[in-house]
Symmetry: C2
Subunit: 353 residues, 2 copies
């Protein structure tokens, strides 16, 4: 890279995570790859100290071991957040595809889809360097046993895509646990005990299937948070959690807080008064254009619970609200089926709504 290219590798010790800052000294535009939520102040201070203006925050993937700083940094800088389109997530601004190019200043990052550790893992390549996230680590690679991981896909990603880069390409990984800071494609072809050229796909899968790793300490917290770009999960009245990446609340909790929290029933009007009934004071607003319009009139700071028959449509409603910028919206887990199972009181206005 030329002398105007700014590059800083940054380390977070607790989870051994690397963050990378790339910048253009001339135009001052910058990109941050894989920032960690605990290190936001350090990273933004460095960007400020260097006189840079952050254009993009790119995550290589939805992390399971730490919370991304992307959402928080977007809030504080107006940078756009980029993540793989493969996740079909609401929070990123850019849904990145294999081969896509990302410009900042006079430089271009090329997106390489390298699934296997997760379904949406991306590597970012720029001028003789490649940021491989957890697809390719120094003398290792990311695990493939959760988040739609696949040893076969990872093998193909590394062998067909990363190993087709020039041997001298510098590999900057998402983590290193032994204190290495970089490697190269050539070195990994030769020295990576899992992925070196002499190993077959079968040998690789055999190794990966026998790793017997325990789950990352923070996975229960990190994955759902990262599906919202790591934004701090807010709830004031309800005790909430995450199910399948959607903020969720139990029927029991909603029941004890009835009257203090807004409930929107997103079923059809015919269902609202059927045998399952509806929750007292629940407002009917059917999923679709009606709900869409309804939410545009709602204060985004309000705490809202969505309910439907089983929790599926209300999950979609929750996601729709998150996309609109609501931060305290929740899916009632199990819907009216669960509500009735627990024998909580229901209403049926025979006049309809």
């Amino acid at each position: 890279m030329d002398k105007n290219f700014i590059f800083h590798q940054l380390f977070e010790k607790e989870t051994s995570t690397y963050t990378y800052l790339l910048g253009d000294q001339k135009t001052k535009e910058a990109v941050l790859i894989d920032p960690v939520v605990e290190m936001v102040d350090r990273d933004l201070k460095l960007i400020e100290d260097l006189g840079l203006k952050l254009k993009y925050v790119l995550d290589t993937h939805v992390h399971a071991d730490h919370i991304t700083a992307s959402g928080e940094i977007r809030k504080r800088t107006n940078a756009k957040v980029g993540l793989s389109s493969a996740y079909d997530m609401a929070c990123p601004d850019l849904h990145l595809e294999d081969g896509q190019e990302i410009q900042f200043g006079n430089y271009t990052i090329k997106v390489i889809h390298t699934p296997g550790h997760t379904s949406g893992c991306l590597s970012y390549s720029i001028g003789g360097m490649v940021f491989t996230g957890d697809a390719l680590l120094i003398r290792g690679c990311g695990r493939t046993d959760f988040q739609e991981g696949s040893s076969e896909r990872l093998f193909q990603s590394v062998r067909d895509k990363l190993f087709s880069l020039a041997d001298e390409t510098i590999v900057y990984p998402g983590h290193d646990y032994k204190g290495f800071t970089k490697s190269s494609i050539g070195l990994e072809k030769k020295l990576n005990p899992r992925l070196k050229l002499e190993n077959s796909k079968e040998q690789f899968c055999e190794i990966m299937n026998n790793l017997k790793l325990s789950y990352p300490k923070k996975i229960q917290e990190a994955v759902p948070a990262n599906l919202l770009c790591g934004l701090p999960f807010k709830s004031e009245i309800l005790n909430t959690g995450f199910v399948d990446g959607i903020p969720t609340v139990t029927a029991e909790d909603v029941y004890t807080k009835l009257g203090h929290v807004k409930v929107i029933d997103v079923r059809g009007s015919d269902e609202y008064n059927n045998e399952l009934g509806h929750i007292q004071n629940a407002e009917l607003s059917t999923l679709g254009p009606k709900l869409d319009k309804r939410l545009d009139g709602e204060d985004k700071n309000n705490e809202v619970v969505f309910v439907c028959r089983s929790g599926k449509r209300s999950g979609e409603a929750t996601r729709m609200a998150l996309n609109k910028g609501f931060e305290k919206v929740y899916n009632l887990q199990g819907g009216m089926l669960r509500w009735n199972e627990l024998h909580f009181p229901i209403e049926r206005d025979m006049g309809g709504s």
Copy 2:
């Protein structure tokens, strides 16, 4: 640097220490700066993997927070150990001076004496990079309150020597506690809160005098060990320690192990039978040419205790033996004075020796 220049930055998490490997792809010669004893296997494996041959291990200074791997690596690779001549230490092979040049392959490292954190701190400069040890840290600097530290000297070292390097020179420090991996002379001139150009020497000293830092956890172990190039401190029979960097044993301990350990009395022959007497079976070999010759005939694996009147000459004897490669030699603390104070038995051969 050209494309044959090999460079790896390595991190040790517990003490946040950086080690640097520099190599020549063409001649395979390599230099390691500031290796940490716990990471020897990682570092030597990397050197082997890269097909390099280690020529020098250079320490920037006598570390107080971790034990150097220099002695251990010298044993395993025959590399030469370099350290500042200012320490007047026995263990290094190279006693480095300001301005000295160190060659490996087609590259040359320039030695810059940058005292202040300790009296013998060196920085190593090569092709647009400078390895600053603890003289200049990223947005900080090493403390100056022990190991002959001096805020005034550190200020001069950084301002007159390091800051006279080109602004774009990359600064690779001995430590970083926030996860930064590098800086530049230009950035530190502007951003270093202690040493930036707008600060006066008085302001700097004021800051340094008010740091109120606690001592490094490992200082009692690290400094003495590092005075022996970090060699694991060996003793089989005795319970030993370090005083002023010299392996030392108490009179009490020697007394309980009499008959199991060799004792050499390094006083003059006239003192051997004076009022203080000598320890039973202690062998008389006066400090000087006589002892020098005597040690050449001794097995270097033997455990030997040196004794004199007060412990001063026997300290010199211990150092002489360490220089000769003995690893289990000790100074009897307090000498015959202490021995008599404790009323341990003495002998006096009236016939002389």
